[in-house]
Symmetry: C2
Subunit: 319 residues, 2 copies
């Protein structure tokens, strides 16, 4: 199968929203009046972002999900994406499920594949995603203010748990392993929550490198500090997964595990009702895990309000 | 050096045109009123799109140039780009010249780096570029009509010649090698020509897979056939390079070499003056190499107008 047959068979679909889809030199996009286009790119490399054991349909899902998660963190609604794909050979047994998983998630968010590139090389997936957000309403990392509450959506730490199980450093009961693995391989981007938080959250980011590391981006971007109730944050781990771990690991995976694709955001204490209403609308639970403080730095406290001594690293591809 | 230091040091620059540049979850873009956003992605893989012998600043140039070439083929003016970069380690001796070559070309076209991703993995560069074009004026592959002239810009075949010289299948005098190598490693995207051809050309594409293969995309997109004067097309090779080759190779490299990043376009015979005026404005020579015909298929003729028997393949990453 040649390059163009491959594109036609697995990736070319009728394009409805955009002036021009796959098959010309460029795709043409125009956000609606009063809208800005939010743009994000993520690259997934075999052995680094996914294991060779992953089922290709789940990989297709995840490759788009991590990009949609960036749109969610800006409060943008998905519109379209491009896919650049490098792979060792044109393997239909891989392409069929990969494109199926990818396009199923795309359909769920009415996000159209409008262009891209395919080439031979190490298995690498680069997606650039486009969303729209009313001008001036994007959720940024720079809007957190002293006194704001800090929230996390959903659950934390399961993806890291699955990774450690694959590495053999923890052994898990079957159900815990399956739940953790699904979280690692098929994360649900919090798009509806991001949209619902427009005008409510003061700052937001998605948790990809670990809760504390990603919180650090908000703190630096906003010029503030924070206090985190670590027991509450660690309590966000899926209970079946949490039951398989001692407290130290539960804390570490929830606070610094990474690959969670939950939203971490801030909102004024006066907006607690509005935050819970946004969560209800989106069907995604959110939990208050701390507060923004004027003094720089990150203070971790335990359930009794006592400072935690332990330090947690954030994921860095080159550290 | 960590991931975020690396981004700060080599890739973060003041962003002027866009609402939000590097450092948030998304970049925010808004085309001006009456404009569409033209979007294209290209992925470059070591060993496939570039050799490990390439000087990193030239690689930085080329990675953006091949994307700007897609904008040129649509008649779009460059605005911004994202960069996703996978590399085996954070090597400053590589990053410094790579980012310098990349950003020098970006500056030349006022095309801002607004976001992206860096990760560890095989050396792979994925750029997504954004340009703007007045709504309805993009040059497409589907607009060629019987009777239109066919043109190519600049020169053809030198990049393939350089590749063959690196492979050892041809040996070249020093000057020819240097000229061919510069064309392979630092192609000049025909952005000014693409813009000047708005409203003049009926169809356009950039030559990346080889002249005849890329012409095939226009013929299929437009539902037409063509006749190509192969002697004129092969005569477009840089004369110093051409002097080093026999006629057979000259024809093959010019017609099917690939990696040229010239524009191949069509225009009505009544627009010959306008085409030459566009070429003059852009400072890029263009040459008429054939004509569009109603009958499907591609007819190659020699200088005497006789059919050529030889067939030429187009580059396909998976063939």
């Amino acid at each position: 199968m040649g390059e163009f047959d491959l594109i036609d068979k697995y990736f070319k679909r009728p394009v409805t929203r955009n002036a021009l889809g796959i098959g010309d030199d460029c795709a043409l996009l125009a956000p609606a009046a009063g809208m800005q286009l939010a743009v994000s790119s993520d690259m997934l490399v075999e052995g680094r972002h996914f294991l060779s054991t992953v089922e290709p349909s789940r990989l297709g899902h995840k490759a788009l999900a991590v990009n949609l998660s960036d749109l969610a963190a800006c409060g943008a609604r998905p519109l379209a994406f491009t896919l650049a794909l490098s792979m060792p050979q044109a393997d239909e047994a891989w392409l069929e499920p990969f494109s199926r998983g990818l396009l199923a998630l795309a359909d769920e968010y009415a996000c159209e594949l409008v262009g891209g590139d395919t080439t031979r090389g190490p298995l690498t997936i680069c997606i650039t995603v486009f969303g729209e957000v009313p001008t001036g309403q994007a959720l940024l990392r720079s809007g957190a203010r002293a006194g704001d509450d800090i929230y996390a959506s959903g659950t934390l730490g399961e993806a890291r748990l699955a990774l450690e199980a694959f590495r053999g450093s923890v052994s898990l009961p079957v159900e815990a392993f399956q739940r953790a693995r699904a979280r690692m391989e098929e994360p649900a981007p919090r798009v509806a929550l991001g949209e619902a938080l427009r005008g409510v959250a003061t700052a937001a980011i998605d948790v990809s490198d670990g809760l504390l590391g990603d919180l650090g981006h908000i703190l630096r971007g906003s010029g503030v500090g924070a206090r985190i109730d670590t027991a509450t944050a660690a309590g966000l781990m899926d209970p079946v997964c949490a039951a398989a771990l001692d407290e130290d690991r539960r804390l570490e995976y929830a606070l610094a595990g990474g690959d969670d694709y939950e939203l971490l955001f801030t909102a004024p204490a006066s907006s607690r009702g509005a935050v819970q209403e946004a969560a209800r609308q989106a069907g995604t639970p959110v939990t208050r895990i701390g507060s923004i403080e004027a003094a720089a730095g990150l203070r971790l406290v335990d359930a009794a309000g006592q400072p935690l001594q332990r330090r947690y690293g954030s994921f860095d591809h080159f550290a």
